[in-house]
C-alpha cells in the first residue's frame, strides 16, 4: 500500500541559501505564490470594471468582501473596521491554500504545522500587542473575571492565563489537523480503490466522491473558523468583556 504521508513531503525546486539558512523555493512556496496570484487576480481584475451591476468575477469579489466585512462588523464592532484588511487577507489566504490542496497532484500549504503556527502566532502576538496598546497594563484585568469570590481568584487567574496562552496552539493545530487528516484519508481511500480492483473498487470510489465533497466543505469551514476566531480574539483585546 503506497505511503499516504508522501504527499506532505517538501521538495525544493530552486536551491537558495541566505547566510546559512535554507530559503529554497519549495513546492510549498510555489503553492503560496499560486494562491496569492489567484487572490490578486480575483480582487484586482475582478473589480476592474467597477460596474454598478456586477459581472460574475466582480460579484465573487464583492461577495467575499461583504462576507468578511460582515464577520468583522458583527464580531469586533465598528472600531474593528481598521483590522478588516488583515482579517480579509488571512481568510482569503487560508481559503485559497485549502482549496488549492483539493486539486489532484497539488500540495496543501496549510497541512504543515509550521505554516499554520506562523499564521496563528501572527494573530496571537498581534492581538496581544493591540490589547496592550489600547489598554496599557489594564489589559491584564482581562484575566480577572468579575463576580468571582476572592478565595478562588488566584487559581482562576492562573487558569485564565493558561487558557489564553493555548489560543495560538488550538488555532494552529485545528487547521493543521483538519487539513492533514483530510488529505491522508483521501490518499488512503484512493489506495483502497486501486487495491480492490475492478470488482470491489466501486464502493470506496463512491465513498471518495462523498468524502471529497466533505473535504471541500471543510476547506471553506476551516478558513471561516480561523477568521472568525481571529475576530473574536480581536474583540476580546479591544473590548475586554469576558
Amino acid at each position: 500500500m503506497p505511503n499516504p504521508m508522501h504527499q506532505f513531503e517538501i521538495k525544493r525546486f530552486i536551491e537558495l541559501d541566505l547566510f546559512g539558512l535554507d530559503v529554497s523555493f519549495t513546492n510549498a512556496s510555489l503553492f503560496m505564490v499560486i494562491a496569492i496570484t489567484l487572490i490578486s487576480f480575483l480582487t484586482i481584475w475582478g473589480m476592474r470594471g467597477r460596474a454598478l451591476v456586477p459581472t460574475r468575477m466582480q460579484s465573487i469579489a464583492e461577495i467575499s468582501y461583504e462576507f468578511v466585512a460582515n464577520m468583522v462588523r458583527d464580531n469586533v464592532g465598528s472600531d474593528g473596521q481598521k483590522y478588516f484588511p488583515f482579517v480579509f487577507t488571512l481568510f482569503m489566504f487560508v481559503l485559497f491554500c485549502n482549496m488549492l490542496g483539493m486539486m489532484p497532484y497539488s500540495f496543501t500549504v496549510t497541512s504543515h504545522i509550521i505554516v499554520t503556527f506562523a499564521l496563528a502566532a501572527i494573530v496571537f502576538i498581534g492581538v496581544t500587542v493591540i490589547g496592550f496598546i489600547k489598554h496599557g497594563f489594564g489589559f491584564l484585568k482581562f484575566f480577572v473575571p468579575s463576580g468571582v469570590p476572592t478565595a478562588l481568584l488566584p487559581l482562576l487567574v492562573v487558569i485564565e492565563i493558561i487558557s489564553y496562552l493555548t489560543r495560538p496552539v488550538s488555532l494552529s493545530v485545528r487547521l493543521f489537523a483538519n487539513m492533514m487528516a483530510g488529505h491522508t484519508m483521501l490518499k488512503v481511500f484512493g489506495a483502497f480503490v486501486v487495491g480492490l480492483g475492478y470488482l470491489g473498487g466501486w464502493a470506496p470510489l463512491a465513498f471518495m466522491v462523498a468524502f471529497t465533497g466533505l473535504e471541500i466543505l471543510v476547506a471553506f469551514l476551516q478558513a471561516y473558523v480561523f477568521a472568525i476566531l481571529t475576530c473574536i480574539y480581536l474583540n476580546d483585546a479591544l473590548h475586554m468583556h469576558h
Partner: protein
C-alpha cells in the same frame, strides 16, 4: 514489548479521543435541529454559530488524532 508494537498500540489508544469529537458534533447539530424545528425563522441567524461550534468540537477530537500521528511518526 518491543517499541514498534508499543507505538502502534499507543496510536490506536490515542485515536479513541475521536469518540468525543463524534459525540460533541452530534450534540451540537442535534440541538440546532431541535431548535430549528421549534422556531424555524430563528434558524438562519444561528447558522454561523452552528458552524463555529462544529469546528471547535471537531478540533478537540483532532488534537487526539495529532497525538496518535506524533506517536506513530515522531518516535
Amino acid at each position: 514489548m518491543d517499541p514498534a508494537a508499543a507505538k502502534l498500540i499507543g496510536a490506536g489508544l490515542a485515536s479513541i479521543a475521536l469518540v468525543g469529537a463524534g459525540i460533541g458534533i452530534g450534540t451540537i447539530f442535534g440541538n440546532y435541529l431541535s431548535g430549528a424545528l421549534r422556531n424555524p425563522s430563528a434558524a438562519p441567524g444561528q447558522f454561523a454559530n452552528l458552524l463555529l461550534g462544529f469546528a471547535l468540537a471537531e478540533a478537540t477530537g483532532l488534537f487526539g488524532l495529532v497525538v496518535a500521528l506524533i506517536i506513530l511518526f515522531v518516535f
